[in-house]
């Protein structure tokens, strides 16, 4: 807060000095010819998924809705029983070290990624059919396989020669050699990575000649450096963006800086412990959902930077709840009525409801570092007080908070919904599926498990949609969480940077269209 006040003071007193403008202009002119982009990112290049996607590509791509797209795999066939995927690989791809991308390299990529991935238990064999065709044979249909292969962590293509020992899927990546639009030429830990254009890139060749990834952990230093012209673009190197929402208005006012904001369908949510009183009661959970004025929250806390969320996850995802017509719109009367129906009434007039002589007091756990969670939790506290509920806030270091979650020692927990390329909360491995989840105390039911299993055990899109529609209806009715707002991703760049576009997922970085002018 102090930092943002200081930033405000500076903005009010003087936008930028003449000297820094001169410096920035000089930098602009110099870089115009060179097509060099300096990216400011909180994480070291090799620690950031977003950075690595400039070097490593995945076999499969994905659009913003969750539909798999051809990438290094040009096309694929799925057998009628849904157990055999046959991948037809691109023939014009060369890795940065000159190795040709073929079925052996693709098999190596799958073998390497499979070690820690959920699909390993379902894969019987990965078979090379010919130089550019590969089959993956499953023991049962595994619906989210293509999405897994669209994830940098679970499906990236690495040169087998850049692994030690070479060609060993259990080996360690010692060089960053992939097929991506940029090649890594220099790297200094916690300082910078220098990437140059891959002139042999199979896709649209980048206009940029060089990208310098600078590690700048502090978001306010990033903003000052962007204003001073030391950085060209910020917010792009983190999936939740380094730019605090509160700074966006001032950045937008700066004549040298442009801001773009994108939704990736990830919502901040409050998860209930559905196995603990009083949140075992559906009416109580629904009352919380109807009793929070999300419009007011977004307007007052985030200056309308983002949108409120009334359903559990983005409805426009392929598997999303687009069948839910009425979300949890603000209705405090309905909330109060639901609480009264559950037996929670304020009988002693102290402003707090009671049931069986016990006041309605609950606790919200805020894991340290969860974006915007501090201001959101204070807003929630005020909103719930209007309903006659006392909510305490407990901020814990993320490891300690995680342990409380695992042990079920929480009433409510600040978290976020899944987003691409993960296959969502209503999927095997998702929050509400009881068999594989790390959210043991979230909402679970046999009926929901059955619907999830039906949805994800069939290659038939129509059957899958039917089962998902039912699952979403059930979940919306059960109110397992409080969806709050869309965690949009802002990116700010100097106005010499042209052509920036957001990729399909918040974990990718797309610099291909950028040009320095």
């Amino acid at each position: 807060m102090i930092s943002s006040m200081m930033m405000g003071c500076l903005d009010n007193s003087n936008q930028e000095s003449a000297s820094s403008s001169v410096q920035a202009d000089a930098t602009t002119d110099m870089q115009q010819a060179d097509q060099v982009l300096t990216v400011g990112a909180q994480k070291d290049f090799k620690s950031a998924i977003e950075g690595r996607t400039l070097i490593f590509e995945t076999l499969i791509g994905v659009d913003k809705y969750g539909n798999p797209l051809p990438k290094l795999v040009e096309s694929w066939d799925l057998s009628d029983d849904g157990k055999i995927y046959t991948f037809h690989l691109r023939k014009d791809v060369v890795l940065h070290d000159g190795t040709s991308f073929d079925a052996k390299v693709a098999k190596f990529a799958i073998d390497m990624s499979m070690k820690g991935a959920s699909y390993k238990d379902y894969v019987e064999i990965v078979k090379i059919v010919d130089d550019h065709t590969l089959s993956v044979i499953f023991n049962k249909y595994y619906d989210t396989f293509l999405l897994d292969l669209a994830s940098e962590f679970k499906g990236k293509v690495v040169s087998p020669l850049a692994v030690e020992p070479e060609w060993d899927p259990n080996g360690k990546i010692v060089e960053y050699v992939g097929t991506g639009p940029f090649k890594l030429v220099d790297y200094k830990k916690d300082q910078e990575a220098v990437l140059v254009r891959n002139d042999d890139y199979w896709g649209t060749k980048p206009k940029l000649e060089k990208v310098i990834w600078k590690t700048v952990p502090d978001p306010y230093t990033q903003i000052i450096a962007l204003k001073a012209g030391e950085l060209d673009i910020i917010g792009v190197g983190e999936h939740h963006s380094s730019i605090p929402y509160i700074e966006l208005e001032k950045l937008e006012e700066n004549p040298n800086i442009d801001v773009m904001i994108q939704s990736f369908g990830r919502y901040q949510v409050i998860e209930f412990n559905c196995q603990k009183e009083p949140f075992t009661d559906k009416k109580v959970r629904s009352a919380f959902n109807y009793g929070i004025d999300r419009e007011l929250m977004v307007r007052t806390v985030f200056a309308d930077v983002t949108e409120p969320s009334y359903v559990i996850t983005a409805p426009w995802f392929k598997w999303g709840p687009d069948n839910i017509k009425n979300g949890y719109m603000y209705d405090p009367d309905k909330a109060k009525q639901l609480l009264a129906e559950s037996g929670w009434e304020d009988n002693d007039g102290d402003g707090i409801r009671e049931k069986n002589g016990e006041p309605f007091v609950c606790e919200l756990i805020v894991p340290f570092g969860e974006a915007n969670a501090d201001v959101v939790s204070v807003f929630l506290q005020a909103e719930l007080k209007k309903l006659g509920i006392k909510m305490d806030i407990l901020t814990l270091e993320s490891g300690a908070a995680g342990d409380k979650k695992t042990a079920g020692e929480y009433d409510m927990y600040v978290h976020h919904s899944s987003c691409l390329p993960s296959s969502g909360d209503v999927a095997p491995g998702g929050k509400y599926y009881s068999k594989y989840t790390t959210w043991e105390y979230a909402y679970h039911s046999d009926e929901l498990d059955e619907l999830i299993e039906t949805a994800y055990s069939t290659p038939d899109d129509v059957r899958q949609r039917e089962a998902l529609d039912q699952a979403w209806l059930l979940l919306q009715d059960e109110a397992p969480c409080i969806p709050l707002y869309d965690i949009v991703k802002p990116v700010a760049f100097r106005n010499k940077v042209h052509g920036f576009t957001f990729p399909a997922t918040m974990f990718e970085t797309n610099l291909q269209e950028i040009e320095i002018r």
Partner: protein, 315 residues
């Protein structure tokens, strides 16, 4: 003296092992799981149970506490600090790659602190209750009260953004060093300045100073030879402790100025429960503490000839 140094170095080994083991113990029993923390950071979402299980198996984290301890002890005795869970790189390399930056910042900021604190502290003592003394007290109070993150950002805004004199962040040239060293040095100088003043005042009241003056020694000689040398002892003690802290990294300054030192990497390691990094870094940092305090003890003998570590043996 040599025997004394050898004895202290032997104790250092025990201190290092003890500190490292204690840090592991605290974190092992503290809430949080390295698999969950590291995978969440790497994946960008909650890991599945399979992913957690694979991570635990890969890093031998399912072993009982005593087995993990003995594995670590075995590695240490073979001069192996292990491999970071997060980066997959040897811990020693992770430390050595970052230590030059930490050393550079620690050395420069300590130098700045001394250049400010010692002359101002002496002058304040000599001109007690003068305007200079009151001003230096006010400056010291400000120095202690200003948090590093605030001062750092203010310096960046004025000297980088407004005047364009220094870069906002980064490492590599002398100009990169100026702002972080001033930020850190100012904070260090303030208490040192007060300590120097108080110690000098204390010494000036001693009988041997009166004796020196009564012998007719010049005021200059009294101050510098008899006064300052004795007054420096508590200052040096404080500096020794601070040096140990500085060599362990300055997390806030490193974060604000994107300074690639050991402090931020260690703190990130603590959040991620990266046990090998925590144990390894604490081990080496404990060594720095021991060495800097040993250096202080040796310095004492030069400042005050009455201090002798080998007296007992001679008897």
């Amino acid at each position: 003296m040599k025997k004394y140094i050898a004895k202290r170095l032997a104790i250092a080994v025990i201190v290092m092992l003890g500190a490292s083991l204690l840090s592991f113990l605290l974190l092992y029993f503290a809430p949080g799981n390295p698999a969950h923390a590291i995978l969440t950071a790497q994946l960008g979402h909650d890991p599945s149970l399979e992913e957690v299980a694979f991570f635990m198996m890969k890093h031998d984290l399912n072993n009982p506490f005593l087995v993990q301890c003995s594995q670590w002890l075995y590695m240490i005795t073979h001069l192996n600090l292990g491999t970071s869970f997060r980066t997959g790189e040897p811990v020693l390399m992770e430390f050595l790659d970052r230590f030059p930056a930490t050393f550079e910042l620690a050395f420069t900021s300590m130098l700045i602190a001394l250049l400010i604190a010692i002359p101002v502290g002496i002058l304040s003592a000599l001109k007690q209750n003068s305007i200079l003394d009151h001003s230096s007290r006010l400056v010291a109070l400000c120095g202690v009260s200003m948090p590093n993150f605030w001062l750092g950002l203010v310096l960046i805004m004025f000297f980088s953004l407004k005047l364009g004199w220094f870069p906002c962040f980064g490492y590599g040239t002398a100009s990169h060093l100026v702002l972080p060293a001033i930020t850190l040095g100012t904070g260090l100088a303030a208490p040192l300045m007060r300590l120097m003043r108080a110690s000098m005042l204390e010494v000036l009241r001693q009988d041997y100073i009166r004796t020196a003056r009564s012998k007719g020694l010049s005021e200059h000689l009294v101050m510098w030879k008899h006064g300052l040398k004795n007054a420096l002892i508590p200052v040096i003690t404080h500096m020794g402790m601070q040096t140990g802290h500085l060599l362990g990294g300055a997390v806030i300054v490193e974060t604000i100025f994107a300074w690639p030192g050991v402090g931020k990497f260690l703190v990130d390691g603590i959040y991620a429960r990266d046990y090998p990094v925590i144990q390894g870094f604490v081990l080496v940092i404990a060594l720095f503490f021991v060495l800097s305090n040993l250096a202080v003890d040796i310095l004492y003998t030069y400042l005050d000839p009455r201090i002798r570590y080998d007296v007992e043996n001679k008897k």
